[in-house]
């Protein structure tokens, strides 16, 4: 677990690549792209992946509502139980899965996450969706795509493409959880043991 001191040190060393106005702007753009591609977003359901994907999904829904004048269903999809690395770590506390009342059958589901990296989270999300219903189509919206995919998965809507090295970390902070909106690019901390 990170101590408060570690966290402050990381934030002092990290470089912000997106600030609050940038995040607001890219979300507005993604909302317009969704309306454009879905031809009006009639049957769109947004499902955020906890934790920060859920906040992004809610913000996107607000923006879609502004554009289309219609309420867009938002939910959350916890993928913990579907992870392929469950057995490599201690079990994690489960987050909330909340599917909007009308379900996802025959709908266009847009998965929303903060960072797209290996693609394994999205693979797990697709498995989870399979157990919940049968969407007409599934699309993916992410705030940051940092590359290094391990599976053939690609986002439909990307806030910012951020070429990174594996020695770097990308950390998204959102006002709802962290008190401010920013995307930080920092150096991975390695413990002395790991360097040997």
């Amino acid at each position: 677990m990170d101590t408060e001191q570690d966290k402050q040190q990381y934030e002092a060393d990290a470089r912000p690549v997106l600030e609050a106005p940038d995040i607001a702007r890219v979300l507005t753009r993604i909302a317009h792209e969704i309306v454009e591609r879905a031809k009006g977003a009639d049957d769109v359901v947004l499902l955020g992946i906890p934790t920060r994907g859920v906040f992004l999904a809610r913000r996107l829904a607000d923006k879609l509502e502004e554009i289309t004048d219609r309420k867009i269903p938002v939910g959350s999809l916890d993928i913990t139980m579907y992870r392929d690395d469950l057995r490599m770590h201690p079990p994690r506390a489960l987050a909330r899965t909340e599917i909007p009342g009308d379900g996802i059958d025959g709908r266009l589901v847009v998965l929303v996450d903060d960072v797209l990296f290996s693609g394994r989270t999205i693979r797990a999300a697709l498995d989870a969706l399979n157990d919940i219903g049968r969407p007409r189509a599934v699309q993916l919206a992410v705030l940051v795509d940092r590359g290094h995919r391990e599976l053939p998965i690609r986002a439909d809507y990307v806030g910012k493409n951020l070429p990174t090295s594996l020695r770097e970390t990308v950390k998204v902070q959102l006002a709802e959880e962290d008190g401010r909106d920013t995307v930080l690019l920092g150096a991975k901390r390695t413990s002395p043991d790991a360097q040997q």
Binding site: D78, M81, Y82, L86, R87, M88, H89, P90, P91, R92, A93, L94, A95, R96, T97, D127, D131, I132, G133
Partner: protein, 325 residues
């Protein structure tokens, strides 16, 4: 770190709340068209039942199957146990088969503890009831039911049962449910009162973290939940009360007594109910009685326990009990 669930007393407050919160998410799976998660795929769980218990066994079995574990059911009747095989030999057989977890029900208090600590087997051990000792998943599902009804389904997340007053009525002497509930409810901050005839109160009860009363009527008006226990005739080898009618008159819950309880208070029973003795049909069938909910909640709680003990490479539940050598 321990990776067994032997006693409700082993759980810290944080562990217990984590299990209840996880169960709340597991309960959502039951509302889906496909009630299945891939979480324990490839893991083998044995339900080792030396004592009959259809209810607990199928509850565990449903939980294991919903998490995609491979399930082996073992009942002592008709097995080599009836030919004289010892617990140790059975354990070693299971170990040789590469079992990941053993859910054990045994008539002897302490059998699951022995299985977990003797080194006979490497699997996680979950106590599904041992003698008159413990039944931790029952206590957890009772606490889960109380939290849902008394605090709220969503409002309860992350919460314990601080300040709630729970009355447990009946055959405390023979009841592992009472024992487990007293331990867990105390950990969760509730105030527990045991009500029983003096003959059905165990020796040493003064050291339990609860109040004792012999008078049901005086406790009803200040209870948030009243848990009726089954009178365990099969464990009674002496006369503990004069007649069933007298027991029923003094310690049975009927409509009149239920009316004395606060408006929001619930009636619980671990089942199976003996209608007419500890509880009347009127109470058993009322909206305030949570017996059917308790059964459904049992599956969610057992899924949560299995996930937290087996889902990762090490258990998420910590234990405070110090091991004996």
């Amino acid at each position: 770190m321990q990776r067994h669930l032997i006693s409700a007393a082993d759980l810290t407050r944080d562990d217990a709340v984590l299990i209840l919160d996880t169960a709340e998410e597991m309960a959502r799976v039951a509302d889906r068209p496909i009630k299945k998660l891939p979480t324990l795929r490839g893991r083998t769980v044995v339900n080792l039942f030396f004592e009959d218990s259809t209810r607990t066994r199928i509850s565990f079995e449903a939980a294991e199957k919903r998490l995609s574990a491979d399930v082996i059911n073992f009942t002592a009747k008709g097995s080599s146990v009836s030919k004289g095989e010892s617990l140790k030999d059975t354990a070693q057989t299971l170990e040789a088969m590469g079992v990941d977890a053993v859910v054990i029900r045994h008539g002897a208090s302490g059998a699951p503890y022995r299985l977990a600590t003797s080194g006979w087997i490497d699997a996680a051990v979950i106590n599904a009831g041992d003698g008159t000792h413990q039944h931790p998943t029952q206590a957890l599902l009772d606490a889960f039911t109380m939290r849902r009804r008394l605090v709220g389904r969503d409002a309860g997340i992350g919460q314990d049962l601080s300040g709630k007053r729970i009355t447990i009525v009946g055959d405390v002497l023979h009841s592992r449910v009472a024992r487990s509930n007293v331990d867990l409810l105390h950990t969760l901050g509730a105030e527990v009162t045991l009500v029983a005839p003096p003959t059905l109160v165990p020796v040493g009860v003064e050291s339990w973290p609860c109040e004792i009363s012999y008078d049901l009527d005086s406790t009803l008006s200040k209870s948030d939940a009243v848990m009726m226990l089954r009178v365990q005739r099969e464990r009674m080898n002496a006369a503990f009360f004069p007649t069933e009618r007298e027991y029923s008159r003094r310690y049975g819950l009927d409509g009149d007594r239920m009316a004395k309880m606060p408006e929001h208070a619930i009636v619980m029973h671990p089942g199976p109910m003996v209608r007419g003795m500890e509880i009347t049909a009127e109470v058993a069938d009322s909206d305030r009685c949570t017996v059917v909910e308790q059964v459904a909640n049992g599956v969610s709680i057992r899924m949560a326990v299995l996930y937290l003990l087996l889902g990762g490479n090490e258990p998420a539940v910590t234990h405070t009990r110090t091991e004996e050598k």
